[in-house]
């Protein structure tokens, strides 16, 4: 009997068997993977499981299986049909989508502007986008309360231009929420979009123009496909957290604009109905995973990196 030859692979100068590679992975990647698995991935599964349990009389989790939480989420509560939660879900999705659109409208000019700057100025312009990105979101959000206060110059300017009523504050309300969202998420869109815009091959656009395409068509057919990977990555980075955002609607939206995030917080906090909160969370997660799948599909078609591979 001949033993099969041991297979080696040379990796960065080291001769390693398959077992050797696994052992080294266990030592290097193992602790971090274990940490994130135990403290986040398993608990996420736990949340999913909690969502089919019931709330006990004292707000504890009682191990009685039920689909009642999802029924209630779909609008079928004890008191007949109540669209409160479907409306909240829809409103959150709209806020996520709306924020993405607003960020796209603002992000495209900014990304093309930065990419068109000469070397050193470009670095400065990029850094200037990154700094607000790392500045506390809570602070930047409450700052809009100051900026949109009844006696601020922005409010007076809006009133003078006839955009708002005299003496009326611009917050709380949807307008303030969208301003806060744009301010918070614009960098998330600009940074990945910029990495694609920087790599545009302009000779394709010139060829399209030479062949008689007008401006919008050049953009649509010769420029846009080239920036799709970065654009999609940015859209996902905006859409997912924007849909789950709760600080911005909480501080700028007032009581009438409850979003998914606020609804979750309420169930885990004041209402103490964790199973129902878990059901809302789980629906939120489904939105996240759905978004990631869409991104992967679109990015693969565009020839860009997959969601996970681009970063990790």
């Amino acid at each position: 009997m001949r033993r099969p030859p041991r297979t080696f692979e040379i990796r960065f100068g080291e001769q390693l068997t398959r077992a050797g590679q696994i052992a080294r992975s266990l030592v290097t990647s193992g602790p971090a993977i274990g940490w994130v698995t135990i403290l986040l991935l398993v608990p996420l599964a736990g949340v999913m499981f909690t969502s089919v349990l019931s709330r006990g009389p004292y707000g504890e989790i009682s191990p009685v299986l039920t689909l009642g939480n999802y029924k209630r989420l779909a609008g079928f509560g004890l008191l007949g049909f109540d669209p409160q939660y479907p409306v909240i879900i829809l409103r959150s999705l709209l806020l996520g989508a709306g924020t993405t659109v607003v960020c796209l409208l603002a992000g495209f000019p900014l990304a093309f502007f930065i990419a068109g700057l000469p070397g050193r100025a470009r670095q400065v312009a990029l850094t200037l986008v990154v700094i607000p990105f790392w500045t506390n979101l809570l602070i930047r959000t409450y700052a809009w309360q100051l900026l949109l206060a009844p006696d601020s110059w922005i409010t007076r300017l809006a009133a003078a231009l006839g955009l708002a009523e005299e003496g009326m504050p611009l917050y709380p309300g949807p307008f303030a929420v969208y301003l806060g969202m744009l301010c918070a998420y614009l960098p998330f869109l600009v940074l990945p979009l910029y990495t694609s815009v920087e790599k545009i091959d302009w000779s394709i656009a010139e060829a399209a123009a030479d062949l008689g395409a007008d401006g919008p068509r050049v953009f649509l057919h010769a420029v846009l496909p080239q920036v799709t990977p970065g654009m999609v990555a940015g859209m996902i980075l905006v859409f997912i957290p924007a849909t789950g955002q709760f600080v911005i609607p909480d501080l700028l939206g007032g009581a009438k604009t409850v979003m998914l995030g606020n609804a979750i917080q309420q169930q885990y906090g004041a209402s103490r109905d964790w199973p129902f909160g878990a059901a809302i969370t789980f629906v939120g997660m489904v939105v996240v995973l759905g978004g990631l799948l869409v991104q992967q599909r679109v990015a693969r078609r565009g020839g860009g990196p997959e969601a996970g591979e681009g970063l990790l």
Binding site: R24, P31, I33, L44, T127, I131, L312
Partner: protein, 267 residues
């Protein structure tokens, strides 16, 4: 690349103004002598001075720094090992795990927060572990910091010239020697950048801390949130300005670090 036209300059200028308006207004108001926002009533250091007399705010500041320092130290070590391991060795299911490690980056922070809260309270119920407070916050922060450190380290590893490590092994270095003497010094700028990023994330975090903290362990963002709900006071502006300063340092220093290492001709 084409030169920007004037409408693009105008639009971009307005967008930069928009991005910086909230930051500027907080800093300006922190020096405003007026008690209730509004018009400018002269320059004052008063609000910074009152911070120093406020035991609650000082305790929150100390908590924030302790939380940031410990969680950054742990996550930098684990994240660097992860970034190194993922870029050097293969194991079954690596693609899946690399994808799963990406989850904390993209998931809404409220989802992460309730998952951890559920975990802690079940662990407390069944095992008597994890009283909510500083420890649970540190564990939670490390969890979302690890992937960011790993991303920064791994992107540096990918751009590295493999022949340097190969040379180390050819000359008889063990794996550990090759890592500590050759690889680690080369990726050190990325490790430092990752650590600063992790620290900034910890400093910025409100939602996860809010859910995983217990009585008595308040951080600055939690304190600011509570104050904002009651109505912004000038000393909160002063406190926020100090946090902004710390974040700006945390954002600019890694960029300078990466630039100096690049200009030295390293990959």
């Amino acid at each position: 690349m084409r030169r920007a036209s004037w409408p693009l300059w105008l639009a971009s200028g307005l967008l930069y103004a928009f991005l910086y308006a909230p930051i500027v207004v907080v800093i300006v108001f922190s020096f405003n002598a007026a008690r209730h926002g509004g018009p400018w009533r002269g320059f004052t250091w008063q609000w910074y001075a009152t911070l120093l007399d406020n035991a609650e705010k000082l305790a929150a500041a100390r908590n924030t720094l302790v939380l940031g320092t410990i969680s950054t130290a742990v996550s930098t070590v684990l994240g660097t090992m992860l970034g190194y391991g993922l870029s050097r060795y293969d194991f079954p299911g690596k693609r899946l795990f690399a994808f799963l490690m990406y989850i904390p980056v993209v998931i809404p922070d409220i989802v992460m927060a309730v998952a951890m809260l559920t975990f802690y309270s079940l662990a407390r119920q069944w095992l008597g572990l994890f009283e909510l407070g500083m420890t649970t916050m540190v564990l939670a922060h490390v969890t979302f910091q690890i992937p960011f450190v790993a991303i920064v380290v791994r992107s540096r590893m990918v751009g590295m010239d493999p022949s340097i490590e190969e040379a180390a092994h050819d000359l008889g270095a063990s794996s550990w020697q090759a890592f500590t003497r050759v690889t680690l010094p080369l990726i050190l700028p990325a490790v430092v950048a990752g650590a600063l990023l992790a620290f900034t994330l910890s400093l910025d975090d409100f939602v996860v801390s809010f859910f995983t903290t217990g009585p008595g362990a308040s951080t600055l963002p939690i304190l600011i949130y509570a104050s904002v709900k009651r109505g912004v006071t000038p000393d909160i502006n002063a406190l926020s300005s100090l946090i902004i300063l710390a974040s700006v340092i945390g954002a600019v220093v890694p960029m300078l670090l990466q630039r100096t290492s690049r200009s030295r001709g390293e990959p």
